[in-house]
């Protein structure tokens, strides 16, 4: 059961081979057994989850179920969830029970999915290893001495360790794709604006995008069907016709045959993503995956993203700038942490924020405050925004020559817990391949494609043009039909 696809689970629930309450219990028991070690969840509330499961069963009994009705889903603790603690991995919100639901939570609720719990994450989604969480690091289920990636490390771990059939996550610079790669699961960051940000605690508003994590492209497509869609409460939410992301999963590429379903697909391979910094084990797995795509009929096209080397510097100006402002609301006045002792108002602010935020969050607030401050704005913030456009234009050029861009999701497999905590710059560079898609607003996904050093998973990064999620998912699905990397699960958790 725990390795079943969402489609299979959905069918089993619809056929009443299993109830939602039973299914939810299976996962709650697994969490009970394994979470102490893995630390994937911050909040689990069996009573609430089982009540939702009971409602889902009633709905199924009435014959009113949707595809995800009764399926337990773990939510990154960045999504405000009414009546649930919503901590964002921070001491600042350790006592914050959200009075409202995020759009995404509402959509899953309307679909009849069960809230399985709230997953651990880097504090305010700032991190690439899940080590900045106030609730302690999440372990990589493939080897617990290693990080699961971040910031959606808890969601990635939960799916990889089969503590949840599926999970939600968010991605500002790679926070869905990098942990998906490091834990051997499939994750998708949609085009900016496809998933409403309402109720998703903001890190960097112009980059943040919610998306799903699952065991396969097919699972991810089913989840995206629920998450995507217009929301009038988010001014950057796109008014588009609803899409069915699962409909064309099996359809061969235009003009291709079932035998070579990706005949005609042009895969852009950017030379900049295969140079210095890419570890050889990851390089080999990516090379093998590209060869597999060629067998499926796809063609490689050499492309260049000449400015992609500037993406990390630009990102570490833009994201902290927006974050420094987004996090100003955490002031100890209306919710969340307030320092127990202070002299006056100014002291209350300074102590509250100093004690409530962890080191990485404070570091980024300071960077952001600096780059926006008088005399530095043009040299840093405005400059970074111009560089951002150069990076976006690189993709416009690239997509004239290819249909998707592929490369490694992360330059290395998972690293050891503690290995990069004292060196922020090294940590930041682990998102070097994923950040450009955030800057450009493009959809990107990571698909498991083998193993590298220490038998740790490697992820293949796929970037598509705006709104090409359905095509990307189909490309990944055809690959997953031909391979079984996505079916591998870490031995220690079964």
């Amino acid at each position: 059961m725990i390795n079943a696809s969402l489609k299979e689970l959905s069918a089993a629930l619809a056929a009443k081979n299993i109830s939602s309450v039973e299914l939810t219990r299976i996962y709650l028991e697994r969490i009970e057994r394994l979470n102490g070690e893995l630390n994937a969840f911050i909040t689990v509330d069996p009573g609430k989850s089982l009540a939702l499961a009971g409602q889902a069963d009633a709905r199924i009994a009435r014959g009113e179920h949707a595809p995800l009705t009764g399926i337990p889903v773990a939510h990154k603790d960045i999504y405000c969830t009414k009546g649930w603690l919503t901590t964002c991995g921070s001491r600042m919100l350790a006592n914050f029970e959200s009075p409202y639901d995020a759009h995404v939570i509402g959509r899953f609720g309307a679909a009849g999915a069960v809230i399985l719990g709230k997953t651990n994450m880097d504090e305010f989604a700032m991190g690439s290893s899940n080590e900045t969480s106030f609730y302690g690091p999440v372990k990589n289920p493939w080897d617990r001495a290693f990080v699961p990636g971040g910031s959606s490390g808890g969601s990635a771990c939960a799916v990889a360790a089969r503590l949840a059939p599926a999970a939600t996550a968010t991605d500002t610079g790679g926070s869905i794709r990098q942990p998906a790669a490091l834990t051997g699961i499939t994750g998708l960051k949609p085009t900016y604006g496809v998933v409403s940000r309402y109720g998703m605690i903001a890190f960097a508003s112009s980059l943040d995008q919610g998306g799903p994590m699952g065991k396969s492209a097919e699972d991810v497509a089913m989840l995206l069907d629920v998450m995507a869609g217009f929301d009038p409460r988010d001014s950057t939410s796109l008014e588009r016709e609803g899409e069915d992301y699962t409909r064309d999963l099996d359809r061969p590429w235009e003009g291709a045959s079932a035998g070579r379903p990706l005949q005609g697909l042009r895969i852009g391979v950017p030379k900049e993503h295969f140079g210095e910094g890419l570890s050889s084990d990851v390089g080999r797995a990516i090379e093998a995956a590209l060869a597999q795509f060629e067998e499926l009929g796809a063609k490689r096209v050499a492309i260049s993203l000449p400015n992609s080397g500037l993406s990390v510097p630009a990102y570490y100006v833009i994201a902290p700038a927006e974050a420094s402002s987004n996090l100003s609301r955490f002031d100890g006045v209306r919710y969340g942490y307030r320092a127990p002792e202070y002299r006056d108002l100014l002291d209350m602010y300074c102590k509250t924020r100093s004690q409530g935020f962890g080191a990485e969050v404070k570091r980024r607030i300071l960077i952001g405050t600096y780059v926006l401050s008088h005399g530095y704005y043009d040299a840093y913030y405005l400059k970074a925004q111009r560089v951002r456009r150069l990076i976006a234009q690189d993709f416009v050029e690239a997509f004239k020559k290819c249909d998707v861009v592929m490369g490694p999701t992360s330059p290395t497999v998972a690293f050891r817990i503690g290995a990069k905590t004292s060196d922020p710059v090294q940590m930041y560079l682990s998102d070097i391949y994923t950040i450009p898609a955030n800057l450009a607003g493009l959809p990107g996904m990571s698909v498991p494609c083998g193993f590298g050093e220490n038998e740790l998973p490697v992820g293949l990064h796929i970037v598509g043009n705006y709104f090409s999620e359905a095509r990307m998912l189909a490309v990944a699905h055809h690959y997953q039909r031909a391979t079984d990397w996505h079916r591998r699960a870490p031995a220690g958790v079964l």
Binding site: C80, I201, S235, E322, R329, V333, R334, L345, L372
Partner: protein
């Protein structure tokens, strides 16, 4: 040597929308604390702003109104930016405002002064959200925060430093106040804080570059505006004359002491770290929208003033008084409609004179006047046909104000106030007066003007005040000359 005072105003006009600038909470005044502060207004984690088209539309109306209905001062694309600072009544830790690209660039407001008109130039007007309120009553040594006002849409109207006295500043503030009510974008209620002024004041020797300015914050009455500027200007001049220097500062006006003092909370060097709000895309105003707003605009004060001067022969000053509010012009135009253009001058005198004084005394708006325009027109008609003298008319007006009768004619009848304009009757009375006061007649003929007035007084007395004074004058002159 003389000093010149240089003043620019920043006016915050609360826009009269039903809902807030970026949320669906009500803007109504007077709710219990925080009852109108929704999730967006209190900045819960994860909430997002969505801009109110009603606020944008009101800004467009203002832009057209200050630019002769020409849209070249309206930015087709403007940007919402974040102004970052910490304050308990600012829930997000930033205020959404417009910085580099405001929705309105430029425009003019013309003000009417005793000695003529003056044009004040606007730098810009931009949309922003209001902050909440800190209540300083003592809550065990703490302050209470009410966020009902947080997020209310404001139009910040920034003038050039074009004013040279507190009187000009007040005239400008009044003109803007009248305009925003005229075009129905702000209720103008100053007690409730719907219309607030900040004054930038500096002094210099004429012809020299601008001096260092100090900004007086939050002046919520025209009287305080006047007092605060007068005090501040005097203080700056004295400081400079004593060899001191002026430092840029933000100051508060204390109405009790009549003095200004620097704000302690603003001692920090300002560094608002403005940047475009990533939650809000560029605000685009289409030509169709502008055309629609243009179509809905009424005749504006300036145009009305010009028309009154041209068609009714009113002085600029008189026309200026009438056009201080739209309601006043409606009242006045009603009267002229009934009595004809020739009566405009008398109507204007009554509206700006006795009526305005009575309204002011009883603290009423013209719309609430106990004497409606038709009644006052009836009264003016009796002045024009010489039934009533000025003095009698005032008596009738007072009686109407008190509600003693609904028409002038009824009161004239009731009080027997008909003026004697029958020249035969008046000639007889004048003859009697001349006969009875030979001494005065003699003095007058000897060149003493005063004696003439005494004779008029006698004649008026003989008619028990009902004689037409102009006529008596004329008859008397003729007879004494003869």
């Amino acid at each position: 040597m003389e000093w010149e005072v240089v003043i620019g105003l920043e006016i915050h006009a609360q826009l009269s929308t039903a809902s807030k600038m970026f949320s669906g909470a009500s803007t109504e005044f007077g709710a219990v604390p925080n009852a109108q502060a929704c999730a967006v207004d209190i900045a819960l984690p994860g909430v997002l702003p969505v801009a109110n088209s009603g606020a944008v539309e009101r800004a467009l109306r203002f832009g057209l109104a200050v630019n002769g209905n020409n849209a070249d001062n309206i930015s087709r694309r403007s940007i919402f930016a974040r102004k970052n600072y910490f304050y308990p009544d600012l829930p997000k830790g930033y205020q959404i405002s417009q910085y580099e690209l405001p929705i309105i660039n430029g425009g003019t407001i013309s003000i009417v002064l005793k000695d003529g008109q003056k044009t004040i130039h606007l730098t810009r007007a931009h949309l922003e959200e209001d902050a909440g309120k800190s209540l300083h009553e003592d809550f065990h040594g703490m302050s209470g925060i009410d966020l009902n006002r947080a997020g209310t849409p404001l139009l910040e109207i920034v003038s050039e430093p074009d004013m040279r006295s507190a009187e000009e500043a007040v005239a400008y503030a009044k003109a803007v106040h009248s305009l925003v009510r005229w075009i129905d974008i702000c209720d103008g209620n100053m007690q409730e804080g719907s219309f607030r002024c900040d004054a930038n004041v500096s002094v210099r020797r004429p012809g020299e570059p601008l001096g260092t300015r100090r900004e007086i914050k939050n002046l919520n009455s025209f009287r305080f505006l006047q007092q605060a500027i007068d005090y501040e200007a005097k203080w700056q001049i004295e400081t400079l004359q004593d060899g001191g220097t002026i430092h840029q500062a933000t100051v508060l006006f204390d109405p009790d002491s009549g003095e200004t003092r620097a704000m302690r909370s603003k001692e920090d060097a300002h560094d608002y770290r403005y940047f475009p709000d990533p939650d809000l895309l560029p605000l685009v105003v289409t030509e169709e929208w502008i055309e629609r707003v243009k179509g809905g605009l009424l005749e504006l004060p300036q145009a009305k003033r010009e028309r009154y001067a041209r068609d009714y022969g009113l002085s600029v000053y008189d026309a200026g008084l009438l056009t201080q509010s739209r309601e006043t012009t409606v009242y006045f135009e009603d009267m002229v409609g009934q009595l004809g253009t020739e009566a405009a001058k008398v109507c204007a005198n009554w509206v700006s004179g006795d009526l305005a004084a009575a309204l002011n005394r009883d603290n009423l708006d013209i719309a609430q006047s106990p004497v409606p325009s038709a009644q006052l027109a009836g009264l003016v008609a009796r002045i024009r046909d010489n039934t009533l003298s000025g003095k009698m008319a005032r008596e009738v007006f007072d009686a109407m104000w008190r509600g003693e009768a609904a028409s002038a004619d009824e009161l004239i009848e009731k009080k027997g106030l008909k003026q004697i304009s029958d020249s035969g009757a008046l000639e007889a009375i004048v003859d009697q007066v001349i006969a009875a006061n030979p001494k005065s007649v003699e003095e007058y003929r000897a060149g003493k003007e005063k004696a003439f007035n005494a004779l008029v007084g006698q004649a008026m007395k003989a008619t028990r005040g009902k004689g037409n004074p102009a006529q008596i004058n004329e008859i008397l002159k003729k007879k004494l000359a003869g």
